[in-house]
Symmetry: C2
Subunit: 382 residues, 2 copies
Amino acid sequence: MRSISKEKYDILVNFLQQNEIQALFVADYEDSPSINLRYLSGQPSDGMVLITSNGESFLIPWDLSIAEKYAEADEIFDISNYEYNVILILKEIIKKKFGDSKTIIGICKNFPYGFVIKMKALISNVKFFKEPRKLDTILGELRATKSDFELKQLTKAAEIGNKAIKDIENFAYNSSNGTENDLSFLVRQKIAEYGAEDIAFDSLVANSSRAHEMHCYPFATNQKFALPGLALIDFGAKYQGYHSDITVPFKFGNLTKEQEKILEIVLQTYEGAIEMVDIGVPLWKIHDYVEQILKNEGYSMPYSLGHGLGLSEHDSPIISRKPKDEYALKYWKEILVEEGMVFTIEPGIYKQGIGGIRIENDVMVRNGKIEVLTRSKLIEVP
Amino acid sequence: MRSISKEKYDILVNFLQQNEIQALFVADYEDSPSINLRYLSGQPSDGMVLITSNGESFLIPWDLSIAEKYAEADEIFDISNYEYNVILILKEIIKKKFGDSKTIIGICKNFPYGFVIKMKALISNVKFFKEPRKLDTILGELRATKSDFELKQLTKAAEIGNKAIKDIENFAYNSSNGTENDLSFLVRQKIAEYGAEDIAFDSLVANSSRAHEMHCYPFATNQKFALPGLALIDFGAKYQGYHSDITVPFKFGNLTKEQEKILEIVLQTYEGAIEMVDIGVPLWKIHDYVEQILKNEGYSMPYSLGHGLGLSEHDSPIISRKPKDEYALKYWKEILVEEGMVFTIEPGIYKQGIGGIRIENDVMVRNGKIEVLTRSKLIEVP
């Protein structure tokens, strides 16, 4: 079953009509992933879906047996009947639906350039819609608000995350010699035990020697976790396709003055940002509130304050700055906090030589109310 | 440190000169991954690298502290000095190196279409090389043969995999009630214990009810693993960035006649394919040998017989069919087995209602000899 509701599907089809796009074309592969495949067709990964402006959908899965189990489309193709050449299938669909007349295909901005060139070379009547960002924007808008079913899955993913926070806390207090890898395994095992299908992503476990790396590499090591200073674990649960995303900050032993300072700023801006979340508030203003405080204190905000949660751990909406350059502004839209949204709030400060710290919780807007679904807070170990 | 050798770097730069490409541009992000970033710059992920036709390299990392630890480039940029807008950095480099004259940028086929459009709109003298596949081909050729250092890392990754095969065997014989998830965790834990930095990818653990899914979804479940019939685990180890990839096939209890048949075909074609591997043999012929047997027996070969191993679990070369269509043939090159190659051989048959089976081992060509590095074989449990 696809996740997109009937009502939203109609909005998408209308968008295609209004923009004179004959078909939307989405591909998801290992080297060019797109969550829109799953959102629009139910196929979890590895395939292509074409949606025409009269609402018909065509799925080209790599694995037919997975499509039969999960996918929904008006027609599902078996590539083994086409010499494993998807171009032959696309040609057939386009010929049948649009004949030889000019056919404008809409693709998103991450669509592979090489496939555009290949289609142009092999299907003579195909043109590509010139503004892929518009398609990212509309699909992002549709995905940004969740159905009741989706909100339930996301709540469950958050609850599993909350249970794991307790285990993380126990680990911090009782396993002073445990490594980053030990903590990473523990979280993985507990999350499965609590009914998740998987962790949401490889947990980032960073002791004080490397918490200043925003996206630490490797994700976890065999170094001891409880080194004095600031540390963090960024993890989540995946429940029936839906993700939670939590960062728990730690303070081990005594901190230097600057470590205390960045910790305090992060915790305070977190509280302030959560306070600001309310229906109708522009998302960029929440980001801006945090970014301005960080700037005034002499730090920077190298990434976005938060992001949506859904079928991927980085879904829409994005809680980020208002772009400054004209090009980005042209495609930018002010998004307001709205019923059905689920997103993270995750301020952080990272400074080599000092350390890094971030706190992250998941926020849901349901029945007109703002709920903080997850319960990360600073864990202090003397 | 970057993985590409000085000698190969010069080959790449020569290629750029000969094709009148002023700069190669590679990007790696969550939604458009490319192992070429790490190969060419050492930066493990999340960034862009530009290599000019006179051999200069410019790195734009998302996380500067990770770049300082791992990367190698003539200049490394701090995006926080450019309002987090990479276009401003690209403009600066292009202006400085090429002035206002026409600048042809080479990109690979998975480069995001939206970024091409954005660069064209914002940097007026930029054009894109029309044949991205040629760049994939040259980079694939360079990555396909490994240095001595790389061969050592790959050998170590394979050895760790071999140790884990023993644990998998024990599990199959002694944990008859264990689940797919149990086996997945066991492998993860053992692989870390044996010194890997991580598993190579999420292990695919499929009992007989779902082994017919080529890339099973989810990767592992809480179902019992040892159901009667054919099952498999596809896993690997990642050692200092380098990957092994192994599939162990299982036979639980008695099989039906057709299950016996597909098992036998897979094991026999595996042996035949391994026998064929020798310096100078065209890779497509090894694939073709297996595919023809499968076809004759009424089965299909939905994927490629094997793939290279390196900084990603799917590296070059690819052991696949000779393309039939003209377009693909134009960019296709016959690749021969060569000194320094490391690749998988992994025939499989998948048929809904019957089952699925695959065996996969890693082969290395070193000092003129073919070594099968990993030791997967059928595990039979009565």
